[in-house]
Amino acid sequence: MNDTFTITDEQQDYSQYDLDANPFPYSPVPAEDPEIYCGQPHVTEKISSTVSSVLSTGKSKHLVVTGKYGNGKSHTLKYTRSLLRDRDDVVVGYVAQPGEGFLDIYHEFIYDLGFSRVQEIAYEYLAAVTCDITDENPTGANEMESLLDDGEILLSEIVPETIRRLSDVTKFADFARAIVHMVYEDTNLYAWQWLTAEGIRYEQRKEMEIHSALDDDTMGVRAFTAMKNILLDLSYTGVFVFVDEFESIARLSPKNEQATLNSIRHLMDQNSNGLCMLFGCAPEVWQDVMSEYHAFSERIGQEVALRPLTTENLTELVEDYLSRERTSAVPDPAVRPFTENSLELILQRSQGNIRQVLSVCSRMLDNAASESQAEITADFTQEHI
């Protein structure tokens, strides 16, 4: 028996660096809700102004964030999403990639909202109707649910009116019914499957009195618009959609690519209010889209590019990460145990790619700790990189 492996739950000791733990992610995939964002000021400004403009005017506005692989597009989108998600007057959905066409974007969007959120929206709408036609004044989804559970409100009295109004607001009676069926335990899974465009059997559709199938891009645009209209009717300021890895539309057939872009264009045309789409896209693909599909690029218009990190960006990023685990006041230098020279080398080797930077920093710190190095020098980095 040999002991090639040493498995222990003992933690590395980072106290010599005034750190509680290694703050760098081991696997530099952007966190779902990033706490740290080392944004490049021109990018954060552009995003802020786009988002703020939608929030303040209610008018739709869209933006493309370009940048090479690893320069932080996803990170940027996810960070923006995490900021927006804290607001209770907007609805945010993240689409990891456009898939085969607009229906997939729609599917991912609804899926990201999630079953409970969509159910909540249904209850919120029932609450709004309840306030109008009864003496009760539920203020939210939970309160509405309790009123129904307790029998304060007669479900069969408010449902027909809710369906009528939702049909009016969405111009899509099937969508209205699906939303209302989200509150029925017998049918909410079918309703959810229909709403996410996963497809359900004819009998299940019939049980909800839904006549159409949500199974192509045109229906997807219609459904998306319906959902947005419901939200605006509930006094939400806007709906934000983050479409990451938009460059993957380039691998679709020209016909499908065109169809996807057209659907997005239709969506934008039908939603001049309350919609903000943020795309993350590789610059070369965006160039092609710009030159080949004017109708589309005209509607987005705005673009902002993420550049490779500069020395200054990098220093700031490393400082931000380290400060998360600092046990004492900020040491001097603030990037301790990294030295200026080692960071310079890391930047060079990673070509300013944020993903690689984070991964190298994480490794260096672990190596230094296990070898009890007081500092991470350029030499040490050179040796371990």
């Binding site: 129904l148 307790d150 029998g151 007669l154 069969s156 335990e185 017998d186 009195e209």
Partner: protein, 344 residues
């Protein structure tokens, strides 16, 4: 297991539940030609009657208003306990031709012990919106009856809904806004072959209230054990009359069998007072006898369940056996079992 025993305090005496109310055809025909059973089957000193049919059968209604008591008209003892439903099932198509006040008046005139409120049954084909309207209307009728009701008789609110939420919501709404002695789940007949759905709805009703729970129209041989298992306190059935009309012989633990399929037998497999002494040929010719036997079959099924429960035998094991023969009811029972277990 939700099976329970209670006692209903009625002015005519105490009624032990769970209990089956045989449906009498009084009012449906010129006279009540339901064969005699009160007094012969001890636990069935009860009857379910249709308020609307009786009221609309003019000669009979005249007799009743002229002072002939209902129980005399039915030829049953004075202490027979009568549940008068509104006759809502007849409104499945067509308009409602009565009001809660009128129905209540009639029920009082009939000296019924239990009143069912006016209701509009749902139909399977009705669209959601139309069914919602009917549910709402029945609820309003029940509340009207609650406002008008005073007296010793029990008022049972009719409840409808094709999903658990609606049923639960309905009962709790009625509980908040009216005064009822119990609830009766209606509209089950059109969906009776969907055992799973029916069980879910009954369970929704059972968990929404601790008061008396009646289920309309499902007291046949197959449903009975399921209803008992789900904690239903009373149910009604006309299966014994309908089956006899079709020359169908009910066998406890099995179901119905067309008599022509067993023609060569000399004696039927039942020791009840009807079949025990008479040969098959004799019974086949006598529809009244067949009807009476069928009611005995329902009584036997009920007694058997009670026996299993009282003797501390495992009811679920008994029902596993009871439903084994039919995949559809077996699946429904399995689902019900899971749901019931989740409640404990």
């Amino acid at each position: 297991m939700l099976y329970r025993r209670r006692t209903l305090d009625l002015s005519r005496g105490a009624l032990e539940t769970p209990v089956l109310f045989p449906v009498r055809n009084i009012g449906k025909r010129s006279s009540d030609n339901t064969p005699e059973y009160v007094g012969t089957i001890p636990e069935f000193s009860v009857a379910m009657i249709n308020t609307r049919s009786i009221r609309n059968r003019e000669p009979m209604w005249n007799r009743l208003t002229d002072g002939v008591p209902l129980r005399k008209e039915m030829d049953v003892p004075e202490d027979t306990i009568v549940f008068a439903d509104s006759g809502g099932f007849d409104f499945s198509s067509g308009d409602v031709d009565t009001t809660p006040a009128q129905t209540l008046d009639t029920q009082r005139q009939l000296d019924a012990d239990i009143y069912g409120t006016v209701d509009l049954p749902l139909s399977r084909e009705n669209r959601d919106a139309e069914n919602d309207r009917r549910v709402e209307q029945s609820t309003k009728y029940a509340l009207e009856a609650s406002d008008l009701h005073d007296g010793d008789s029990l008022l049972i609110a009719s409840v409808h809904g094709y999903d658990p939420q609606t049923v639960r919501n309905n009962i709790r709404y009625l509980e908040k806004n009216g005064h009822f002695d119990g609830y009766a789940l209606g509209s089950m007949v059109p969906i009776r072959t969907d055992y799973k759905k029916v069980s879910k709805l009954i369970l929704a009703a059972r968990t929404a209230t601790d008061k008396h729970l009646h289920v309309y129209g499902l007291g046949g041989l197959v449903y009975q054990p399921l209803l008992l298992y789900l904690g239903v306190d009373s149910f009604d059935s006309s299966a014994f009359i309908r089956s006899a009309g079709n020359r169908n012989y009910l066998v406890p633990g099995f179901g119905g069998e067309a008599l022509r399929n067993v023609e060569s037998m000399e004696y039927l497999p039942c020791p009840c007072p009807v079949c025990g002494q008479r040969c098959l040929d004799d019974i086949r010719e006598d529809r009244t006898a067949l009807t009476q036997h069928n009611l005995w079959a329902l009584a036997t099924e009920l007694r058997r369940f009670r026996y299993v429960a009282e003797s501390d035998r495992d009811i679920e094991e008994y029902l596993d056996l009871r439903f084994q023969g039919n995949p559809v009811t077996q699946r429904a029972y399995e689902t019900a079992k899971q749901q019931v277990r989740r409640l404990s």
